[in-house]
């Protein structure tokens, strides 16, 4: 190594800080739980919870007052769909309602008495569908199942009616369906809940566990009257960069491992679509992890107590999940929350992950996300820089600040000593 050149010293300081941070991480049980238990086991657990990801055969009760051939065919066809299963045939709506309230069925299909008659009279017959809205998936299944059967039945009945009018075969189908259609759902064929939700959760796990773990260490340092921002003594006031990068390097190395595990290995274990190339994914993970390191360094500088990060910021995980836009569409975000979502790396990391992994995109597809992630990295680096600068200024001027505080307190008539005793709880010892 170069002896005393600037780069040599820089690099030595950097390595010292890096090693020190590594030591802190691996000797702290709380951080180890967050990084390795949560970071490694949570992706697996969420995959297990959402393993099927599809609701099939939603139980439906049928009340068939018309009791005709058409209604029976309708019922059989609904039973045959993937979405629904006819669980009960009921005599009356009362009976069906009771089953629904007991949650034995999640939907009721009701055929009025005139169903068959109206069909015979070439009029429009009505089927009523009652669905349980306690989960939208029940609604989706009952609606989709009934609608598909309805469309199919309509086609069949129309063909029969046109045949009666004297059109048959090709001619009839030309009238019934002049524009046949083909639907493609290339990225998530069966509307599986797992693929979109777990994809978003995976990247949120990376960001949140890193933030919680780092905050734990920053809080511990502050409690023990150290600071996360201690600079090497020899360079008075300089060297903030190597503190940020040296500390960051420790987390970066650990999280490149966890990140690749989460972005490449977990999806492979659970059979996710992995349509993008590995290289693109590794580049995305690298950029995302770098951003998360800077984000965590910037935000964790606010944490003063070890445990407070859980008390204050745990709910942000759920908020971040909605801000990714995988569930509620981005186009419908209120303007304020759209701007708010630019704070978090996950907003863009998750979208990048989905666009590469499920939609088979490449780096060009996600270049918007990459640019924003890079800008975030730079901004958070600057914020960390400023916060360390302020922290150091505070440490150096501790004495003056304390004096000023005492002076001000004396003026206002507050007894600081008593305050301290109450807050730290030391008076309670005796």
């Amino acid at each position: 190594m170069k002896r005393n050149s600037y780069i040599g010293i820089w690099f030595r300081d950097f390595m010292d800080i890096f090693k020190h941070e590594m030591h802190l991480i691996f000797t702290d049980a709380g951080v180890m739980i967050i990084f390795f238990l949560a970071g490694l086991a949570y992706p697996l657990l969420y995959n297990l919870i959402y393993l099927n990801g599809l609701l099939e055969d939603t139980p439906i009760a049928v009340v068939d007052n018309s009791d005709c051939a058409e209604s029976r065919r309708f019922i059989n066809e609904i039973d045959a769909t993937r979405e629904c299963r006819i669980a009960y045939h009921c005599i009356s709506m009362n009976e069906a309602e009771k089953l629904m309230q007991e949650r034995k069925v999640n939907g009721i299909i009701y055929f009025p008495e005139d169903f068959g008659k109206k069909l015979n009279r070439l009029q429009t017959a009505t089927v009523s569908l009652y669905t349980d809205m306690s989960s939208f998936l029940y609604y989706k299944n009952a609606l989709l199942g009934t609608n598909m059967v309805m469309l199919h039945e309509i086609g069949k009945i129309q063909i029969e009616r046109y045949a009666a009018m004297g059109y048959s075969g090709q001619e009839a189908s030309q009238i019934v369906q002049a524009i046949p259609y083909e639907d493609n759902n290339p990225y998530n064929n069966a509307f599986s809940y797992r693929f979109f939700l777990v994809s978003a959760i995976l990247f949120i796990i990376i960001q949140q566990t890193m933030f919680y773990g780092m905050s734990l260490l920053v809080g511990t340092a502050r409690e023990e009257n150290r600071s996360f921002a201690t600079l090497p003594d020899k360079l008075e006031g300089n060297g903030i960069g190597r503190v940020i990068l040296g500390r960051g390097m420790a987390y970066w190395l650990i999280y490149m491992g966890i990140g690749i595990y989460i972005a490449l290995i977990v999806p492979a274990i659970f059979g996710f679509p992995q349509k993008g190339s590995y290289i693109d994914m590794i580049i995305l993970v690298t950029i995302f992890v770098t951003d998360c390191v800077m984000f965590s360094e910037a935000c964790s500088s606010l944490i003063t107590k070890r445990e407070s990060v859980f008390v204050l910021f745990l709910f942000m995980s759920v908020v971040c999940l909605f801000l990714t836009g995988t569930s509620w569409p981005v186009f419908s975000f209120p303007r304020f929350w759209k701007i708010f979502s630019y704070i978090f790396p996950t907003t863009f990391g998750c979208r990048g992950f989905i666009n590469i992994n499920a939609a088979g995109g490449n780096l060009w597809t996600i270049h918007d996300q990459i640019i924003i992630l890079t800008i975030q990295t730079i901004v958070y680096y600057c914020i960390s820089y400023i916060s360390i600068y302020i922290e150091n200024w505070l440490i150096k001027h501790k004495k003056e600040i304390k004096e000023t505080k005492t002076r001000l307190a004396a003026k206002a008539g507050i007894d600081l000593e008593e305050d301290k005793i109450i807050i730290a709880g030391k008076s309670d010892e005796n």
Partner: protein, 390 residues
């Protein structure tokens, strides 16, 4: 163990003093819940998304294709963006900038007129779930309407009356009754459970923190001294303070949802008060259980955090429990939020009343037995302070 009112009062006053001196308790409960309420209620204020971008690649450029695009654009759900080539549209679909693509083939109008049945194709991106699903529904509706329009023209040309035509175009129709949320409003659906979930999380974390802080700052012996040496008194005193605090938050939350925001409710708001208070009590039971098992504040808080985050998934309000593997389904009963949700289904969705939810009351009350199993252990930890403090 003798529980005296005098000691309980002393504990309550002591706890109030701690809350006053450490802002984190109010920050972590009142401020967190206020932020979450504002966030979720404003985030889902539309109820149902509208103006979702749908790409139309029009290779036909006829009056028929233009009118199709216009009609799609005029639906509440859709907003049409025109693309010249499929490639550009496909790239934007991959980027998630649009929800779906409709491809209108060349010569569609001519082919429809000549009864040649041109095929219409559309693609959706359902990795962005709600947007994709709604765009799918919208396009499907419009295609079927377009088919109906063509059919009507043919039948009119044959000289049928409008009544006869309707019977032929639509022999069957469905009318749909959404029980419990007739507006199919996503905000109602999600916020109804997300906010109580946040409350459950807050209760567990704050209570673990409060009980853990006694160990961390070495004040646990003073706590026991104040309570006259009785663990039960100490817990009762602390719980009275926090139960009042959280119940106040919980009741305000219920009033906020069902009274001020007018979320649909079939049953009675009074029964929902019972539900939320039971959930708070059950969550307190869980919190004491966790800190009692692991009287190390940092570990207890980590475990509490991991546990309460899982509560959202395992309550089964998004993806129903019955789709999960059997060994996960069993786990779900260990979360108060799951029972809150089942209670809510009976009261809010079906309005079934006591007959519907009495079992959930028992389930939530069972959580109150959890602290009993760890009380001796916690007391020992409080006296000996023999666990790592951080």
């Amino acid at each position: 163990m003798n529980v005296s009112w005098h000691n309980i009062k002393a504990i309550i006053l002591r706890e109030l003093r701690i809350i006053r001196k450490r802002p984190i308790y109010i920050m972590g409960s009142v401020v967190t819940m206020a932020f979450c309420s504002i966030f979720f209620l404003s985030f889902f204020k539309d109820g149902l998304p509208h103006d979702l971008p749908i790409a139309v690649v029009d290779y036909d450029n006829s009056s028929l294709s233009r009118s199709f695009a216009q009609q799609l654009n005029s639906t509440q759900l859709g907003k049409v963006i025109k693309y010249d080539t499929f490639k550009e549209a496909r790239e934007d679909l991959q980027k998630g900038k649009i929800t779906s693509i409709c491809v209108i083939p060349e010569g569609m109008y001519a082919n429809v007129s000549a009864n040649r049945r041109p095929e219409f194709t559309f693609y959706i991106n359902s990795e962005y779930f709600v947007g994709g699903a709604l765009a799918y529904k919208d396009i499907l509706t419009m295609v079927n309407l377009a088919n109906g329009a063509v059919q009507r023209e043919v039948l009119r040309a044959k000289g049928l009356t409008e009544n006869e035509i309707i019977g032929r175009i639509q022999p069957i129709q469905t009318d749909i009754h959404e029980i419990g949320n007739q507006y199919t409003n996503y905000g109602y659906y999600l916020v109804n459970i997300l906010l109580p979930g946040m409350l459950e999380m807050t209760v567990i974390i704050i209570l673990i923190y409060s009980l853990g802080a006694e160990l961390k700052y070495g004040t646990s012996r003073h706590l026991l001294k104040t309570s006259g040496g009785s663990m039960l008194t100490a817990l009762i005193g602390k719980l009275i303070v926090y139960t009042v605090l959280f119940s106040a938050i919980g009741l305000i939350m219920i009033i906020l949802l069902y009274h001020w925001m007018h979320f649909p409710i079939n049953g009675s708001i009074w029964n929902m008060f019972i539900d939320v208070i039971l959930m708070i009590l059950a969550s307190e039971g869980v919190a004491i259980f966790i800190i009692g098992l692991l009287p190390i504040p940092r570990l207890a808080l980590s475990i509490g955090a991991l546990y309460s985050i899982l509560g959202f998934s395992l309550s089964g309000f998004t993806l129903p429990i019955e789709t999960m593997p059997p060994y996960i389904q069993g786990l779900a009963v260990a979360f108060p939020l799951r029972h809150y949700y089942l209670f809510y289904c009976q009261e809010v969705i079906f309005g079934a009343g006591f007959a519907g939810w009495w079992q959930e009351v028992i389930h939530m009350l069972v959580f109150l037995l959890l602290p009993l199993s760890v009380m001796a252990r916690l007391r020992k930890a409080y006296i000996l302070q023999n666990f790592p403090k951080n």
